[in-house]
């Protein structure tokens, strides 16, 4: 076919040639998701701006840009340091205890027998209970006058144990509730991880008569590490922002004993109507979670690639 002919054929075909394939299709499909993104980002940027303002809902005429003053004030504010300390204590306690307990339970339930599966499904129920409702359940059980747990500790001679209403035991109580709700989360992820590990190293170790502790620390734990990291970071990120359990249980009290970041920010906003300070507090929290979530997403993507068979 000569060049001229070729051009003619092309020219003839041109009107019948359908439109170029839809390059806009992916954009159209993700438009709603984009809208949601905007719906998140706009308030987020707004919050960032508020955090740089003196902005009190009850004193609107004082509103103005004050730079980093809200943040600088934190440095000399004992309430802020209290919030930071409580949040970190709460997070470390819950994550460490849940990790140890969750790992132990996962190891106990490792063999996929019908009984073990039944137990693991039962343990999911606390996790599927709304945390705020879970707090109410424990509130009923720790009620000083009729709570079953108060009664049980009294059997051991501990009378007048006030659980969440006593500053010395409030943290213990909410951590207990958090453990009740979220240990199953760690357990179920690690159990799935354990059961997905290849068998050969364990069979080889069993044949060679390698001691169980050695197998655990040198084979099981290293192979389980990506799951442990992902599960812990998941919990770390949720725990440092815990609101539901603490708010439903004590609203941050007694006193300021459980004033974690989000509870403090909530009260700052609704009780003291100090929008600027509340926003600054949340921005500090966001900074912490953002660093953690970047680490998390990296690990998470690695696990995800493994699950979908294209590592």
């Amino acid at each position: 076919m000569s060049m001229v002919q070729l051009l003619q054929t092309n020219a003839q075909a041109a009107p019948a040639r359908p439109k170029p394939r839809v390059r806009w299709l992916p954009y159209l499909l993700s438009l709603p998701a984009l809208l949601i993104c905007v719906a998140i980002l706009v308030p987020f940027v707004t919050a960032a701006i508020y955090s740089l303002q003196r902005y009190r809902l009850n004193l609107p005429y004082l509103r103005g840009f004050i730079g980093l003053d809200n943040y600088i004030d934190f440095l000399s504010d004992p309430a802020f340091w209290n919030t930071l300390r409580i949040s970190i204590t709460y997070t470390v306690l819950t994550v460490v205890l849940e990790l140890l307990l969750g790992l132990a339970i996962a190891l106990l339930l490792r063999r996929p027998t019908r009984f073990h599966n039944a137990v693991s499904i039962m343990l999911l129920l606390p996790l599927m209970t709304a945390p705020a409702i879970a707090a109410l359940m424990w509130k009923l059980m720790t009620n000083p006058s009729f709570g079953i747990l108060s009664y049980l500790v009294s059997l051991f001679g501990v009378t007048d144990f006030k659980w969440a209403s006593d500053p010395s035991t409030a943290l213990f109580t909410v951590v207990l509730v958090d453990i009740w709700v979220y240990t199953p989360f760690i357990m179920i992820l690690l159990l799935a991880g354990l059961r997905s590990l290849p068998r050969q190293p364990f069979e080889a170790a069993a044949l060679d008569g390698v001691p169980a502790t050695f197998v655990f620390f040198r084979i099981t734990l290293p192979m389980l590490t990506p799951y442990i990291i992902t599960a812990s970071l998941f919990r770390l990120l949720d725990s440092i922002q815990q609101f539901d359990i603490i708010y439903a249980m004590t609203q941050g009290g007694p006193g300021d004993r459980l004033m974690v970041f989000q509870v403090q920010a909530y009260l700052e906003f609704f009780q003291y109507t100090n929008v600027g300070r509340s926003a600054a507090l949340l921005m500090v929290l966001w900074l912490i979670t953002n660093i953690l979530s970047n680490i998390f997403i990296k690990n998470w993507l690695r696990l995800r690639a493994r699950a979908h068979g294209h590592a």
């Binding site: 954009y27 999911l124 609101f243």
Partner: protein
Amino acid sequence: MEHSSLAGLIFRGVALTLIVLFFMFPIVWIFMMSFQNNDQILRIPPRILFEPTLSNYKALISGQLHTAAGNLQITFMRNLFNSVVLSSAAVALALLLGVPAAYAFARFKFRLGETIAFTLLSFRFAPPLLVLLPLSLYYQELGLNDTYFGIVWVYQLIALPLILWIVRGYFEDISPDIEHAYRLAGHSWWEAFTRIAVPLAGPGIAAAGLLSFIFCWNNFVFALILASADKQPVTVGALAFVTASGIQYGQIAAAIVLSVTPTLLLALYAQRYLVEGLSLGAVKG
């Protein structure tokens, strides 16, 4: 590896019993409480065996609580209704918006898609109040405060990342050739999407939908900030109920039972997919 020595067996048995006791006891206890009247609840020592009563549930369902102090109106059934409406609508909307987007992210490699997917993922881990507090001010101006639509819209923050990331994984697992084959058989893009991709990702879509429903239902802080009494779901409603009813412990327990039963049943039904959902698709059960 498995020690079958007697000591080992006993240790495992005791450990598992304690674990089941710790995690199941609160649920069982509250369930039992919900069938007791106040006298039975306040009895010391507590009894395992008791004469069950349905009065707590009757009071909740009828909305009337007769006490010595007089009649109390209970709006708890309204909260339950709100939870059903809000969670169902939110999941329906999230599926409608999320499934096509998940497909786009799985099939077309484009930068905007990745940006959206990761923005939503990273905000899944950002403090919710950071978005909610400014949003509540915007909502007041827009008149969206305390509307079903407003709450359903913010519930997308919970449901959409979940659906996007789980369903995306399912779409990625379908060989593109299968869809190409369907196109070559004379079907449009839309037909290939609805008749091949969506049915094949069906289990993932169902799992993501069920989990989103559970998470929306269990959410507390969104409605606490954006809804007032008549739009509040059970999580917020139960807390308000505790404050309002004071010492009506039996009714509180019954309200708790009603609040958690739907999600627990759904969780049992969908337990095969929970691991995958909880890890946003990174771990398969």
